[in-house]
C-alpha cells in the first residue's frame, strides 16, 4: 500500500517533528496572550504561563468572557484540562 506520509530524510537522520504540529504550536504559544475556550461557550483571555499534557492551563491577567461580555477577571488562574475545547493565539507567533 502506498504511504501518504512524507518520505524520511534521504540522509538517514532521524525524522524531525513536523513544523506546525500540535505540540510545536503549544510550545510556541507559552508566554503569549491566548484565548482558551471551555465547554459552555466561556472563553478565558490571558497570558499563557504554562500548560501540561492534560491540557491543564495556567494563565495570568485573565479575563473571563461569556456571551460577548466580560464576566470576570483573575490575576492568576488554573484551568482543568478536561474542560478545554481549544487554545488559540491572540497575537502573532
Amino acid at each position: 500500500m502506498e504511504s501518504q506520509s512524507p518520505e524520511p530524510p534521504a540522509d538517514g537522520s532521524a525524522p524531525q517533528p513536523i513544523a506546525g504540529s500540535p505540540s510545536d504550536f503549544l510550545k510556541n504559544i507559552v508566554g503569549k496572550r491566548v484565548k482558551v475556550r471551555i465547554g459552555g461557550g466561556v472563553d478565558y483571555h490571558g497570558l499563557l504561563t504554562c500548560l501540561d499534557g492534560y491540557m491543564n492551563v495556567a494563565l495570568e491577567d485573565t479575563e473571563e468572557w461569556a456571551a460577548g461580555r466580560m464576566t470576570g477577571q483573575f490575576g492568576d488562574c488554573f484551568l482543568r484540562g478536561n474542560n478545554v475545547l481549544y487554545i488559540s493565539a491572540l497575537e502573532d507567533l
Binding site: T49, D52, N56, V57, A58, G75, F78, R80
Partner: protein, 95 residues
C-alpha cells in the same frame, strides 16, 4: 503577579500549590462557585477546603418558557471535600 512568583511556576499545578493555605475562588460545573481556604489537593483536582461559601447561579424559567432574572443561592460549609471532576477553574481569591 510579580516575576519572582512567576519564576516558581513551571507547570500549571504549581499555581495551585502556591494557593495552599490561602483563600481561593473555584468555578465548578453546574453553575456553582466556591470561595474558601484550600488545605489539600491532588492531581485530579480533588480539593479539601474550609470556611467555604458556595454560590449556585440559577436561572428560573416561567411556564411560558421565559427566563427570569438570574438569582444566586448561597450557603456556608465549614469543611468541604470537592471531587475533582467538577472543577473548571481555580484562582487565588481577589481581596
Amino acid at each position: 503577579m510579580d516575576h519572582a512568583a512567576a519564576a516558581q511556576i513551571s507547570e500549571p499545578l504549581d499555581l495551585v500549590k502556591l494557593a495552599l493555605g490561602e483563600r481561593v475562588f473555584i468555578k465548578l460545573r453546574g453553575d456553582r462557585t466556591l470561595t474558601g481556604t484550600l488545605h489539600a489537593y491532588d492531581a485530579h483536582m480533588n480539593l479539601v477546603m474550609s470556611q467555604v461559601e458556595e454560590s449556585v447561579h440559577i436561572v428560573d424559567v416561567t411556564d411560558a418558557g421565559q427566563p427570569l432574572p438570574p438569582r444566586v443561592e448561597r450557603r456556608n460549609v465549614e469543611m468541604l471535600f470537592v471531587r475533582g471532576d467538577s472543577v473548571i477553574l481555580i484562582s487565588p481569591a481577589q481581596q
